[in-house]
């Protein structure tokens, strides 16, 4: 059974989103996604400063099994990326909602999270 924290928001491409106090949004991949991928061995992150549209493929996760794109869950600007994750990709398996955040975005629409899936909706998707 996947761990799906109640306080986060989710998109269909299996990324989670969390609103920070400064208004930026932290993004990572879900526990369901990491389990499906298997052992993660390489991660490529987007450039800080990049302006992206929702659903753009902006990062890559390579597991022992396959390469998968990570999509921008919302439109906005990349303001930070988790460089530590590049050096320790196994964290994506070990701590998908903590140490293994992928990037932070400044959303084009400050209220965008209200339009995304709740934990309950996402759990239904993963069944």
């Amino acid at each position: 059974m996947s761990n799906i924290p109640a306080e986060l928001k989710y998109v269909e491409s299996h990324e989670w989103l969390r609103k920070e106090a400064d208004g930026t949004i932290t993004v990572g991949i879900t526990d369901f996604a990491q389990a499906a991928l298997g052992d993660v061995v390489f991660i490529e992150l987007p450039e800080v400063g990049a302006e992206v549209e929702a659903d753009d493929d902006i990062a890559v996760v390579e597991s022992v099994k396959a390469a998968s794109d990570v999509y921008a869950p919302i439109a906005g600007k990349i303001v930070a990326v988790n460089e530590d994750l590049v050096d320790a990709p196994e964290k994506a398996n070990e701590d998908p909602y903590g140490d293994a955040w992928f990037f932070r975005m400044e959303p084009a629409d400050a209220d965008v999270l209200d339009t995304l899936m709740s934990a309950e909706d996402y759990a239904a998707k993963c069944e």
């Binding site: 022992v64 099994k65 390469a67």
Partner: protein, 360 residues
């Protein structure tokens, strides 16, 4: 639901993630493919390979039959238990399957792939009509591969009565003990045993090995281990349309004696005379990214090829692959990955043997 081996319950109990593998419900991993890979390189792991097809060949013309259908020469097997790796070819010289043959007491045992079972049996049954010999499938035998530097020691601990016999086995040699058969063979590049066991007795043996500290390992780790060891996977690295000369299996063709007319011989001789068009090579990518099967290989000034098996090598911590490339390819190539050409090196396989990097 697919077919299940006699160890299916053990896989569920160990949290195995079950996938379909050639019609069988098999564990791909039990949590972490990487950890299972590493335990085989460093200590001892075990694989349920009961899905593989065991076929016994008996009768006065068993040897003549095998000398007809196999590219390697079974008469090289000097004593009971000795094993031989070989291709079984079609008339065009393509590989129908790769298999191991063991010499038994006056008969032979073969182990063929599960994914090719039906076409193998159809072919073998058709060819045997001309010989005074019989084929018997042995579905009542399970098979466990115990692999790793400590694998043999752990099996000896569990099978104390046979410990001395097991300890005396040489590489690529087997030993029947009642209905059990111990062979010092494997598909990982480590020392170890492949053991055939009556299905009713295998669960107890597996459990005893777990208690002795042998870790269950899934088909995922089996694939990364065999690829590091430079061992072909049927269906990926060769198939019915590829000759052994194009699949790194030239060493398995017994050209001598020249009057042994095995199936595929004429086609192989013609291919050799005309020039073999392609070859199977090892590729290493020492930068980021993972090579995957079917990616295009571009060899500057020569032509193109294709990755047949690619993965991340847990031992080397970078990607390795096998690829079929034009015969004149040298030591450099480019791999097309996600729309970009990435330079990579061609090296002599294996990549890893007995836990250590082999190529330069």
């Amino acid at each position: 639901m697919g077919k299940q081996t006699p160890l299916y319950q053990q896989h569920l109990d160990a949290n195995g993630k079950i996938v379909d593998f050639g019609g069988w419900d098999m564990p791909i991993h039990y949590g972490s493919q990487l950890q299972e890979h590493n335990v085989v390189r460093e200590d001892a792991g075990m694989f349920d390979v009961s899905h593989m097809t065991i076929v016994d060949i008996q009768g006065p013309e068993a040897l003549a039959y095998l000398q007809k259908i196999l590219a390697n020469d079974v008469s090289k097997l000097g004593f009971t238990g000795k094993a031989l790796y070989t291709g079984m070819l079609n008339e065009e010289g393509g590989v129908i399957d790769d298999l191991i043959v063991y010499k038994m007491e006056g008969w032979y045992r073969t182990v063929v792939n599960c994914g090719t079972r039906e076409k193998d049996l159809a072919w073998m049954n058709k060819q045997i009509e001309a010989f005074d010999a019989t084929l018997t499938e042995r579905p009542e035998l399970a098979m466990v591969a115990v692999q790793g530097p400590n694998a043999i020691e752990k099996v000896k601990q569990v099978r104390t009565e046979q410990a001395d016999l097991i300890g005396d086995l040489k590489v690529f040699q087997g030993l029947p003990v009642g209905e059990w058969f111990y062979a010092r063979t494997g598909y990982t590049g480590e020392d170890g045993l492949e053991i055939m066991i009556p299905a009713a007795e295998v669960a107890e043996f597996w459990t005893a090995l777990v208690e002795a500290g042998v870790a269950p390992a899934g088909l995922g780790a089996r694939d990364t281990l065999r690829l590091e060891a430079g061992m072909n996977l049927y269906g990926n690295d060769m198939d019915d349309s590829i000759s052994p000369l194009q699949a790194g299996m030239g060493w398995t063709i017994a050209w001598e004696p020249t009057d042994r007319d095995f199936i595929g011989r004429k086609a192989l001789e013609a291919q050799k005379a005309a020039g073999v068009p392609s070859k199977l090579v090892g590729i290493v990518l020492e930068t980021r990214g993972v090579m995957r099967s079917h990616q295009k290989v571009v060899v500057e000034g020569i032509g193109e090829g294709e990755v047949t098996s690619g993965t991340f090598s847990p031992t080397l911590q970078h990607s390795i692959a096998m690829a079929r490339v034009p015969y004149d390819t040298g030591s450099e190539c480019n791999i097309e990955m996600r729309g970009k050409l990435i330079p990579a090196r061609i090296v002599k396989m294996p990549f890893v043997r007995n836990g250590k990097k082999v190529f330069e």
